[in-house]
């Protein structure tokens, strides 16, 4: 069976792993600890589809929004 890249689907928003400097920038911007971000399971289909994601990473999710054009979310990868 052919394997599809989940992120190519139009209904799946873009998921990006943040590198550590970016991580710190995000946490500083919002003035919170990583534990205060929304969570995403490492077993989430999109996360499983991505490479080199480990627990504790922060994922940036960019979503198309009818009102704001782009809405950005950050999620902490948890077990």
């Amino acid at each position: 069976m052919k394997k599809f890249a989940l992120q190519d689907h139009e209904l799946v928003p873009t998921h990006i792993i943040l590198i550590s400097e970016e991580k710190e920038k995000v946490l500083e911007e919002y003035g919170v600890g990583a534990a205060q971000l929304p969570k995403i399971h490492i077993s989430d289909p999109v996360i499983k589809d991505m490479e080199e994601v480990v627990v504790g990473d922060i994922i940036k999710i960019v979503r198309e929004s009818p009102t704001a054009k782009q809405s950005i979310f950050y999620r902490l990868v948890i077990d």
């Binding site: 919002y30 205060q36 971000l37 929304p38 929004s65 704001a68």
Partner: protein, 876 residues
């Protein structure tokens, strides 16, 4: 007053018998409460060490007076252990999970370690551990033999409410307790409990705490008799049985009697904790009323949490029937004199207001605006009467506080239940009035969802300067004209306001000088515009549009389609021949008719523009002037609706009959085609469905046709049409139903099929598919319905009633759950939405960080407006 202690953290757990004894101030041994002289008996249920409730006495434990002493727990030593009902399910799970011999959790060491690890991480993340714990219990139940001591396990049956039966023998609470005591601490942790604060055996009571008298006060009736609290009654029962149990056991009574007594003790303690356990008959008062015991005090709407902590009764509030007064401002509320004299605002005397306040005090409490109480600087309160008012007024000093009666200009909160959104409580300015109802401008009915068929509303008087300021700035009606739901005005003209402005502004309505004066009577107008023209007799006249322009603030430029726009194929805009295209230039109404689309609640485009361009104060003024003028506009024209307004000429009636008849025949033809098998099914439908759809279509079209026939004879001279077209009340469909034909009645969107087998009513043949046999009402309300039509109409009407009844209860509960889940969320200054622990819920409020009520319907329209404002003309 002592400094209140700060709560650092709260931890929940079970209390051990040792803990119970340690916190107890007295061991209760007698079931008696007071002796013959009315003094509490020592070591009885009203022992003075448990706290004080009688005024004048002091607590024997802490020395506090009633009100200061919080009360202290006592205890009863139970002769035999008893199960705590609240833990019956936990006990069952634990019994099945542990070995009957060695009491170890029947899981392999490795599994235990794994589960423990999972629980630990979940706790660190602050997430519920229920799923893991349930898994532990269900896995540990499976082995037939204990993996540690090898003892074979027996099935434990649980019988409601509180029996655990193993192999045909009932386990006594002592047996269970013995087993639980042997569970190792490590196993307890795997079961999701913390052995330091909650050991499993503590779910079985050895000692019963006796609540302090302060939470079960006895009341003295007028007859001098004492009446004890329900909890005290229950405790009396427990102590009696406990004593009897002890006597019998010491006397060596037969096992059977001991067991019975044990059971009885269990019953009393169960009902003491919870009197609604299924399978246990509720304990009753002598009168037959079920006792209100511990759990009943906490649970439900009137319970401690929902009834006493989240919601309380308050002072400085009033409630009465509401009625309309279009001459009030939307920011005002009319308060009856009687209420105004009861409610008060606290004011502190200072050097600047001294004389004014002294004057209030001089009025006493019987002349408005007077003063009800004066609080001196030492905290003593003096009730002001006509006798002492002069004296107190002369004594008045700086720093004293007076409770001044409510008077004009005070700010109060006004509320109508159900308080579903923030506009259900708004701040109004008081206007004291005669008579006994609260008065409000009907334009503020929509946010409260109020009408005047007997609705009551509540009024609250803020008691601090901060509260008043906050109410004034955030909660005033004018600040809430725009709804955060859709960004448009939720306050606006309704009913007669819409009709009035429609009648005034539609077409070239001429008004003479006297009428203009009447219309502008209550408005701040100093001079009239030049008259539009001179009539045949040489007298000047003005147009309704000119008069209405007076209430539109200067600087408003706006054009839009009125509510009664006919939706022509090609909109001629400013050249509209129906006068349905509104053009306003610099506050001058040039063309078009003012109706619901301009000033109505929920849709008013004019109101919307005024508030967004010129701010809430101007908008409030506009609403006030508009409502005053519109009411005079409708009074000037005169407006009524009666049964003869539904009259249509005979020829129209004949045409309607023809339409209905053809429709009936068309249906008959469809049925014949269906019977002959000539009907073509629509794609994706069965033949039956196709027939039903075609019939519905035909009949629907017939009803519309009758409506348009009737509409041809009902013009704008008909008051029903004026209301429907202007958006004031009702629709053309309502008029059609009254004048022409009621149409098809439906249940769940289909024709009516229910009833007898094969037919709806005995008036029809079996299998009759005709229009009249399935709920088509060809009569109009004016003509009256035939008996079968009436029945079908009732069937259809009932569905509507049931739907609304179900919808309100369902949406009410949904709302409650939503609000409980969302009430602590907060939008921060950086636009993030966080909950109390600082956990982010949204990174930007609503994705775009926009407050809907500050948004101008968004879209490119906004740009056009800015261009127009800057250039002073339409952009191309």
């Amino acid at each position: 007053m002592t400094v209140p202690k700060r709560i650092g953290k709260i931890s929940f757990g079970l209390i051990s018998p040792q803990e119970f004894r340690r916190m107890s101030v007295v061991k209760i041994i007698t079931a008696d409460t007071y002796d013959d002289d009315g003094f509490p008996i020592e070591m009885g249920l009203m022992d003075p060490r448990l706290g004080v409730i009688d005024p004048g006495l002091r607590c024997r434990t802490c020395g506090g007076r009633p009100g200061e002493c919080p009360g202290h727990f006592g205890h009863i030593d139970l002769i035999a252990p008893v199960i705590h009902v609240g833990f019956a399910k936990l006990i069952r799970k634990a019994l099945r999970a542990i070995c009957r011999e060695c009491s170890r959790l029947m899981l392999l060491e490795n599994d235990k370690r794994m589960y423990l690890e999972q629980i630990k991480t979940l706790i660190e993340l602050g997430q519920p551990i229920d799923d893991v714990v349930n898994k532990v219990f269900s896995e540990a139940r499976k082995p037939k033999k204990c993996p540690y001591c090898g003892a074979s396990q027996k099935d434990i049956k649980f019988e409601r409410p509180l029996s655990y039966i193993e192999d045909g023998h009932k386990l006594t609470p002592s047996d269970i307790r013995d087993r639980f005591e042997k569970i190792p601490d490590d196993d307890v942790k795997v079961m999701g409990m913390n052995p330091d604060s909650a050991r499993p055996e503590w779910t079985i009571l050895m000692v019963l705490p006796v609540p302090p008298v302060t939470m079960r006060p006895s009341i003295t009736l007028e007859s001098g008799q004492r009446s004890e609290d329900d909890l005290t009654h229950k405790l009396v029962d427990i102590i009696r049985i406990n004593q009897r149990f002890q006597e019998n056991r010491e006397a060596g009574a037969p096992q059977l009697i001991i067991e019975d007594l044990w059971e009885l003790l269990q019953y009393h303690i169960t009902t003491f904790l919870d009197n609604t356990v299924s399978g246990v008959p509720p304990a009753r008062h002598r009168s037959g009323r079920p006792l209100k015991t511990l759990s009943q005090r906490l649970k439900g709407k009137e319970g401690r949490f929902r009834g006493s902590l989240s919601g309380k009764r308050v002072n400085f509030s009033a409630r009465t029937v509401i009625s309309p007064d279009p001459n009030l401002s939307i920011n005002e509320v009319g308060v009856p004199m009687e209420i105004a004299m009861e409610l008060s605002v606290p004011l502190v005397v200072n050097s600047r207001n001294m004389d004014a306040l002294r004057n209030f005090v001089r009025h006493g409490s019987e002349a408005h605006p007077g003063v009800n109480y004066v609080t001196r600087s030492d905290g003593r309160r003096v009730k002001i009467t006509s006798r002492n008012c002069e004296e107190v007024a002369d004594m008045l000093e700086i720093g004293w506080k007076i409770d001044r009666q409510l008077m004009d200009g005070d700010i109060v909160l006004f509320n109508r239940q159900p308080s579903l959104h923030r506009m259900s409580i708004m701040a109004h300015k008081v206007v004291v009035m005669p008579y006994k109802t609260f008065r409000l401008n009907p334009a503020v009915c929509p946010p409260y969802n109020a009408d005047f068929d007997g609705d009551e509303m509540n009024l609250h008087v803020p008691q601090t300067e901060e509260a008043r300021a906050e109410a004034q700035i955030l909660m005033r009606v004018q600040e809430n004209i725009l709804s955060p739901r859709f960004g448009g005005p939720i306050i606006g003209g309704i009913h007669d306001y819409v009709t009035g402005s429609f009648l005034l502004t539609h077409g070239e309505r001429r008004v003479n000088r006297r009428e203009v004066m009447e219309l502008l009577k209550k408005l701040p107008v100093s001079d009239l515009p030049p008259p539009k023209g001179v009539d045949e007799e040489g007298r000047p006249y003005w147009t309704g549009k000119q008069v209405f322009s007076h209430v539109i603030p200067e600087g408003i430029n706006l054009s839009f389609r009125a509510d009664f726009c006919m939706n022509c194929d090609q909109c001629k805009e400013e050249e509209c021949e129906h006068d349905a295209y509104v053009v306003i230039r610099d506050g001058e109404l040039l063309k078009g008719t003012i109706d619901a689309a301009a000033i109505g609640a929920f849709k008013g485009k004019l109101t919307d523009r005024v508030i967004k361009e010129l701010g809430p104060s101007v908008a409030a003024e506009f609403m006030d002037s508009m409502t005053r003028m519109a009411i005079r506009g409708i009074m000037l024209a005169g407006f009524s609706f009666g049964i003869d307004d539904e009259d249509i000429p005979r020829e129209a009636d004949n045409q309607i009959q023809d339409v209905v008849k053809t429709a009936r025949e068309d249906v008959q033809k469809l049925i014949e085609a269906y019977d002959a098998g000539e009907l073509e099914p629509l794609p994706g439908r069965t033949l039956d469905e196709t027939l039903e759809m075609r019939i519905m279509q035909t009949l629907g079209k017939a009803r519309d046709n009758t409506g348009s026939i009737a509409g041809r004879y009902l013009g704008l001279d008909n008051s029903g049409v004026v209301m429907a077209v202007s958006g004031a009340r009702g629709s053309m469909l309502n008029l059609t139903q009254m004048a022409a034909c009621v149409g098809q009645q439906s249940v769940r969107g289909e024709r009516i099929h229910r009833g007898y087998e094969g037919r709806t009513l005995p008036h029809f043949r079996n299998g009759d598919l005709s229009s009249e046999a399935h709920g088509f009402v060809q009569s109009s309300y004016k003509h009256g319905l035939s008996p079968t039509e009436f029945f079908f109409h009732a069937v259809g009407g009932r569905e509507g009633l049931v739907d609304t009844a179900i919808r309100t209860s369902q949406s009410g509960y949904l709302q409650r759950r939503l609000i409980n889940a969302l009430q602590d969320l907060e939008v921060n200054y950086d636009g993030t939405v966080k909950e109390t622990r600082g956990i982010i819920v949204q990174f930007k409020y609503g994705e775009d960080g926009v407050d809907a009520s500050r948004r101008d319907y968004a879209g490119p329209e906004n740009v056009h407006r800015i261009v127009q404002k800057v250039l002073g003309k339409e952009s191309s």
